[in-house]
C-alpha cells in the first residue's frame, strides 16, 4: 500500500504540490492525468525518493519513503520521462548495469536480462548500441530497465511520449500483463485515451492539486450531463444552438457544436427541437463524455493547454 498524506512541495515561490493525499492499493493500475506542469512528475519524484516534500509524509507498505533511505527503493522502479539509457552501450550492457545497481549478479541477472529482452521483443538486438534503436525500441528498453529487479511498485512518468502507435500498444500490453501478475503501477500521462484504456483508478491533477479521484465511471458521473451531442456549426444549425443554450452547455469546438444537456433535459426533447427546425437526425452524434470534458468541467481548461 502506497500512502501519500498531505504532501506539499514547492520550488521557490511555485507550489508544485499542494496538500496531495492518495492511497494506492497493491495491484492497482493508477493513473495521474493532468496537463504539462500539473505536478505529475514532481509527485513521481517524491514517491521515488528523489526529492523530499516540504510537508506531509509518504509511506510504502508502512515504511516511510525518504531521500535518505535507499532501502525502500528496492521495492520500486522508475521509468523516467526521458529515455534514461546509456546510448553508446548495448541493450544488454544497459540492463546489466541497472541490474547490478539493484544487487543482481551472475546467472540470475543473465536470466532476467534474457526474459526482459524477450518480453519487449529486443532479444535479437541485445548487442546493438541503444543509439541505433528506433524511438519505440528505446522506450521499450527504458521500461524493462525499471523492472529487472522485480519491484512491487512501478512509477511510469509519461512513458509513451513520442512513441509510434505499434510500440505504444506493445507497452500497454506489457504493462497490463504485469499488473495482472500483481504489479502496482502509477502511470502519469496527459493523454486521456491512455488513462481511459489502462487505469483502474484515475486522479485528475492540476496546479498541484487533486481535483477528482476514482474509477472512470465514478469520475464521469461527476459531470452534470450523461451524453454529449455534437453537430456541425453551420448557418442551418445556428438557431438550434441558440435555443439549446437554455437547456445545457453549448460549446463551439472549431466547426462543431458540442451540446452537454442539463440533467433534466431529455434526449427526446433535443430531437423534437431539431425536427421542428427541419434538421435531419444524421447531423447529430451522441457520445459518452470523455475525461477531457471532465477536466474542462473541473478546471475550466483543456488538457492540452
Amino acid at each position: 500500500m502506497l500512502k501519500l498524506d498531505r504532501i506539499t512541495k514547492r520550488y521557490g515561490t511555485l507550489t508544485a504540490l499542494d496538500g496531495v493525499s492518495l492511497e494506492i492499493a497493491p495491484g492497482e493500475f493508477f493513473g495521474l492525468l493532468g496537463p504539462n506542469g500539473a505536478g505529475k512528475s514532481t509527485l513521481m519524484s517524491l514517491v521515488a525518493g528523489l526529492r523530499a516534500p516540504e510537508a506531509g509524509r509518504i509511506t510504502l507498505d508502512g515504511r516511510r519513503v525518504t531521500a535518505a533511505d535507499p532501502a525502500t527503493r528496492i521495492s520500486l522502479g522508475l521509468v523516467p520521462q526521458a529515455i534514461a539509457l546509456y546510448e553508446d552501450l548495448s541493450a544488454e550492457q544497459n540492463l546489466q548495469i541497472f541490474g547490478e545497481l539493484y544487487g543482481l549478479r551472475g546467472p540470475d541477472l543473465r536470466a532476467r536480462i534474457d526474459e526482459a529482452l524477450e518480453a519487449v521483443q529486443l532479444a535479437d538486438r541485445r548487442r546493438d548500441q541503444v543509439k541505433t534503436f528506433s524511438g519505440g525500441m528505446q522506450r521499450r528498453l527504458n521500461l524493462v530497465a525499471a523492472l529487472l529487479h522485480r519491484p512491487r511498485l512501478l512509477l511510469c512518468d509519461e512513458p509513451t511520449v513520442g512513441v509510434d502507435p505499434q510500440s505504444r500498444n506493445a507497452i500497454f500490453d506489457f504493462l497490463e500483463a504485469r499488473v495482472r501478475a500483481g504489479l502496482t503501477v502509477i502511470y502519469s500521462t496527459h493523454y486521456m485515451e491512455e488513462a481511459t484504456r489502462l487505469c483502474s483508478r484515475i486522479a485528475i491533477i492540476d496546479h498541484g492539486r487533486i481535483h477528482a479521484l476514482g474509477t472512470l465511471d465514478e469520475l464521469l458521473a461527476r459531470l452534470p450531463f450523461r451524453d454529449e451531442i455534437s453537430f456541425p456549426a453551420t448557418p442551418a444549425t445556428a438557431e438550434l444552438a441558440a435555443r439549446l443554450a437554455a437547456h445545457g452547455q453549448i460549446i463551439r469546438d472549431g466547426g462543431t457544436h458540442r451540446f452537454r444537456p442539463a440533467t433534466a433535459f431529455r434526449t427526446s426533447a433535443f430531437y423534437a427541437l431539431a425536427e421542428s427546425l427541419a434538421l435531419p437526425p444524421r447531423l447529430f452524434v451522441t457520445e459518452r463524455p470523455t475525461l477531457e470534458a471532465l477536466f474542462l468541467h473541473l478546471t475550466g481548461r483543456t488538457l492540452r493547454e
Partner: protein, 446 residues
C-alpha cells in the same frame, strides 16, 4: 537581401545567448594576449624574466668581486641569495658546500661561485664557476646570458687587477709603481686629469676597459667579446639532470601532458550534464544509489582515465624521443596519480559551478589555457611578472610540472617528491570539497 539580414540577425541572437561562444571569442583570447604580453614584456619597462633565484658564494676578498655581487643584486632578473637560514632561524653566509644539496633540493636552480682565485695567479685571466639545474632550457639560456652580461660588465676592472698582479709578480713593487706613475703622467698629459687619481685608478686595475666590456656584452664589438670570453674562464657544472637521456623532450613532456589531461577531464565533466539531460540521474537515484556514489565513482573514473592517459603519453614520449620513463617509474606513477586526481577535481568543480554543459565547456577552455600558460606549461614561470609567478603557485599545472620534473629530470626519491604530491593532493581535497558542496546545493541532480 531581406532573407540574408533575417538569417544574420538570427546568427547574432544565437551567438549572444551562447555564453560559452562569447567567452571563447572574447575572454579567452584577451586573457591569453595579456599573459603573452606579460611574458614578452609588451608595455613593460622591466621586460624579461624576474626574480630568478641565484645563489652567490663570494670566496674572494677582492673589492671588485663584491662589486660583481652588488651588480647581480641590482639586476631585477635575479633574486640573489648570499645567506642561508639555519634551523634556529639565524642566518649565515652560503658556502660552496651548501650549493649542490640546495640545488638538488630545489631551493634554487642557479648558483655563482666567485672563487678565492678569481684572478688567475698564472698569466692574465679570471676564473668563475656556475652551478645549475637546467630543467628548463629557455630559462637556463637566459640566465647564462644575464650572468655573462653582469660578469662582462664588471670584468674589465678585475682584468686590470689581474694585469697589475701579474706585473707586480714580474716587476716588483717599486718598478710597477714607477711604471704606473709614468703611464699616469703620459695619460694626463695627453687627455687631461689628475696624475695621482689616474695612478690610483691604474693600480686598482681600472684601465678604462669597462667600455669594452659593455660593448662586448651588447654584441657591438665581436672582437672584444671574443677577447673577454678567452680571458674569462667560466666553469659550468650541471648539478641536476646531467644523466637524463633525452633532456629536451624530458623538459617539455610534462607541460604538454598536463594540458591534454586537463582538456580530456574537462570534457568528461560535461558528461554530467548529458547524463542529467538524459534523465539518467533520476534512474540512478531511484535505485539504491546515492549522490555520493555517483560523484565518487566519477572521481575515480577521472583519476584512472587521467593516470592511463598520462602513462600512455609518457610511454609515447619514450618511444618517440627516448624519455627515460622506466628509470623512476614507481614515483612517476605516484605523481601521475596525484596530478590526475587534481585535474579530475578541477573538472568536477567545473561541472558543479556551471549552469549548463556549454558554460562548462567555455569555462574549461578558458581555465585550461590560462592555467597552462600561467602554470609554466608553455614557457618558464620566471618570465612572467612576479605577481603572476605568485598566481602560478596556485595552479595545479605548476605543481604537476614540478612533480614530473622531480621524477623525470632530477630522479628524486619518494620522500623528496612527497611535498609536491602533498600539495597536489591538498589541491584535490580542497577543490573536491567545494565541488561536492556545490553539487549538493546545485540543481544537477534535480
Amino acid at each position: 537581401m531581406r532573407i540574408i539580414l533575417t538569417l544574420l540577425r538570427k546568427d547574432f541572437a544565437n551567438f549572444i545567448r551562447d555564453k560559452a561562444a562569447v567567452s571563447l571569442t572574447f575572454l579567452v583570447p584577451v586573457a591569453l594576449i595579456y599573459i603573452f604580453g606579460q611574458v614578452f614584456g609588451l608595455n613593460r619597462k622591466d621586460s624579461g624574466p624576474t626574480g630568478i633565484r641565484l645563489a652567490v658564494v663570494n670566496q674572494s676578498d677582492n673589492p671588485a668581486a663584491q662589486q660583481l655581487v652588488d651588480a647581480l643584486k641590482a639586476e631585477k632578473s635575479f633574486r640573489v641569495l648570499t645567506n642561508r637560514v639555519n634551523p634556529d632561524k639565524s642566518e649565515r653566509p652560503l658556502t660552496e658546500e651548501d650549493l649542490r644539496p640546495m640545488i638538488r633540493n630545489r631551493d634554487f636552480r642557479f648558483a655563482l661561485i666567485i672563487p678565492r682565485d678569481v684572478i688567475a695567479t698564472r698569466g692574465v685571466g679570471l676564473h668563475l664557476r656556475i652551478l645549475s639545474d637546467p630543467r628548463n632550457d629557455i630559462e637556463t639560456q637566459t640566465v647564462n646570458g644575464l650572468l655573462q652580461k653582469a660578469i662582462f660588465s664588471n670584468v674589465p676592472q678585475l682584468l686590470g687587477q689581474s694585469l697589475q698582479t701579474s706585473a707586480r709578480k714580474h716587476l716588483g713593487n717599486p718598478r710597477l709603481d714607477q711604471f704606473n706613475g709614468e703611464l699616469a703622467a703620459a695619460v694626463t698629459k695627453a687627455f687631461g686629469g689628475d696624475v695621482e687619481e689616474t695612478k690610483q685608478a691604474l693600480a686598482e686595475g681600472d684601465f678604462g676597459l669597462s667600455a669594452l666590456g659593455a660593448a662586448g656584452q651588447s654584441g657591438q664589438q665581436g672582437a672584444s667579446a671574443d677577447f673577454f670570453a678567452k680571458v674569462v674562464k667560466i666553469e659550468n657544472e650541471q648539478v641536476v639532470g646531467k644523466d637524463v637521456k633525452s633532456p629536451e623532450a624530458t623538459r617539455v613532456v610534462g607541460g604538454w601532458a598536463m594540458m591534454f589531461l586537463l582538456f580530456a577531464l574537462s570534457h568528461s565533466a560535461a558528461a554530467f550534464f548529458e547524463e542529467k539531460k538524459a534523465g539518467l540521474f533520476q534512474r540512478l537515484l531511484s535505485a539504491p544509489v546515492r549522490r555520493a556514489h555517483i560523484l565518487w565513482s566519477r572521481f575515480l573514473y577521472g583519476v584512472l582515465l587521467g593516470l592511463v592517459q598520462l602513462t600512455a603519453l609518457f610511454f609515447a614520449g619514450r618511444l618517440m624521443y627516448g624519455i627515460d620513463v622506466l628509470g623512476n617509474f614507481g614515483n612517476l606513477v605516484v605523481v601521475c596519480t596525484a596530478a590526475a586526481a587534481a585535474c579530475t577535481a578541477f573538472g568536477m568543480l567545473l561541472a558543479a559551478i556551471s549552469p549548463t554543459a556549454a558554460a562548462a565547456n567555455g569555462l574549461a577552455t578558458f581555465l585550461v589555457l590560462t592555467m597552462s600558460a600561467t602554470g609554466g606549461a608553455w614557457f618558464p614561470v620566471s618570465f612572467m611578472p612576479e605577481f603572476m609567478q605568485t598566481i602560478a603557485r596556485f595552479t595545479l599545472v605548476y605543481w604537476s610540472m614540478e612533480g614530473f620534473s622531480q621524477v623525470l629530470w632530477a630522479g628524486q626519491s619518494f620522500l623528496q617528491i612527497l611535498p609536491t604530491v602533498g600539495v597536489l593532493l591538498g589541491i584535490t581535497a580542497g577543490v573536491m570539497a567545494v565541488a561536492v558542496w556545490r553539487f549538493n546545493r546545485g540543481a544537477i541532480f534535480d
